[in-house]
């Protein structure tokens, strides 16, 4: 049984625990084991926290990685932001000078990170380690839904020279494996606006979220699938916030692991989907 250290990050336990529940169900169904990362911190946040101070950001990331390394496990993340931060930190920690500098700090709290593990996005784990056929084999309830896939900016983070569409395509294939139809549109790659909402909420709502929602509504999607809790929060809280500007939407948004759990036949009640602030129940009703 393949085992991973699950990095939950900040947003999922606080804003989207249903994705935490769904991850356990999906991994369990697929025969994957999860280990907790006791004492983890924020990855830290790839936009604001990483801009604050390079040393504090890298040392926190390296400390997180050292927790998983201590268990001898690769890290699996459910969030694009956590993925980028930890993946990049892992790369930096393979460089002698940075590794020495950060390990000097870690040594002061009794830790060391040797750079022996990998950081994996849940999309990579499901697509590469499990495989599309194995996913399809678990689908008990093929989802006859029309879904928009919001990849999220940081999912495009890729090793130099590799295809930046590798993970986004894997994500789409995983959604298709549930029996849902992935609907492409010209706003797919537009940022949801979460990062800019910290400094200018109105801008992020009107220039990022609004055009996406308008297009998705026009296409008539049943819902939006994401692989990042920050994007999820932006899609859900943003729909409510847009009412201030007389823009009304009612589009469900959920995380890939929740979609898979539903397709694998998990009862929606067991997933506590009421944590969502968008009408996910509407989407569940369509599944039947």
């Amino acid at each position: 049984m393949k085992k991973y250290a699950l990095f939950l990050g900040c947003m999922i336990p606080q804003r989207l625990p249903s994705a935490e529940l769904a991850t356990h169900k999906v991994f369990n169904s697929l025969g994957l084991e999860i280990a907790e990362m006791t004492g983890y911190t924020c990855c830290p946040d790839p936009i604001l926290a990483r801009l604050m101070d390079r040393k504090v950001a890298l040392s926190m990331s390296a400390r997180n990685l050292s927790i998983a390394e201590g268990q001898g496990l690769d890290v699996v993340v459910l969030c694009n932001g956590c993925y980028e931060t930890l993946w990049e930190a892992n790369e930096f920690m393979k460089r002698g000078e940075t590794s020495r500098e950060i390990n000097e700090l870690l040594a002061k709290v009794g830790r060391k990170y040797n750079g022996t593990i990998n950081v994996r996005h849940v999309v990579e784990v499901l697509h590469e380690d499990v495989g599309i056929e194995a996913i399809k084999n678990q689908v008990k309830k093929p989802l006859g839904l029309k879904l928009a896939v919001h990849h999220g900016c940081h999912l495009f983070r890729e090793e130099n020279g590799r295809d930046i569409w590798r993970k986004p395509k894997q994500f789409e294939e995983l959604v298709s494996a549930t029996g849902a139809e992935v609907v492409r549109s010209d706003v797919d790659q537009l940022c949801c606006g979460f990062p800019t909402s910290h400094v200018d909420e109105e801008f992020s709502l009107k220039h990022n979220l609004l055009p996406k929602l308008e297009r998705y509504q026009h296409i008539g999607v049943d819902g939006i699938v994401v692989v990042c809790p920050a994007c999820n929060v932006q899609f859900e809280s943003g729909q409510l916030a847009l009412r201030r500007y007389s823009a009304k939407f009612s589009i469900p948004c959920l995380h890939l692991v929740e979609l898979l759990a539903l397709a694998f036949g998990a009862p929606s009640k067991e997933l506590s989907l009421e944590f969502h602030r968008s009408p996910v129940s509407q989407l569940v009703a369509r599944i039947g």
């Binding site: 900040c10 336990p13 604050m52």
Partner: protein, 223 residues
Amino acid sequence: MMEEAEIVELLEKNIPDGLLSVVTPRVRKVSAEIAPAIIRKAAETLLGKGARLIIIAAVDAGLDIDLLYHFDLEGKVVVLRVKLGKEKPEIDTVADLTPTAEWAENEAAELCGVRFRDHPKPGHLVLSDKLPEGTFPLGKPFKSKLPDEIGPVAEAVITVGATAPISSLMKRRRVEAGLPPQPPASYSNESQLKEVHELIRQTNFSRQAGYDWKRKKLRGVKK
């Protein structure tokens, strides 16, 4: 003739408790950071060796006012840096120890708002007496160098190691959903959180951000 190393030794020997750091950045220069409480003892130590006070420069650094006491000791410049928190920018005068300090302290007082306790001749030096009270031309807003928008994120990361810690409502809802009230994050475990705090202290970020470890919040006036 005292060498730089001997000046360092002099400071280390005479003001061991309040000497926060001391370096010799270049030939004929010694820079030390000292606690405000020992300014008189430090000045007496140098003056006792025949040093003369050149000038006191005051710099408003946002959260603190840096006072830089420049001494000349046998041709070497010895700079004593004192950080005064702007919550209460006060320090003992050294004007009674060396007359040069009298005008320099008055200048720092009127331009940056430092209060020199027991100054023998307080009052304006270069500015009009009619200037409204509390007006300090070289004073800056009481805030760190971090942009305002980043403040809450910095505070949360330093305090609990997370940008979104669990609220009490969410703890209840998590339990109802069959999850533990909190994830196994640093904020769920006292010893882990202590380790995170120590790591952050080691990076010096909390000082730059102006984090007050006792009050568990960022210093400075928030928007």
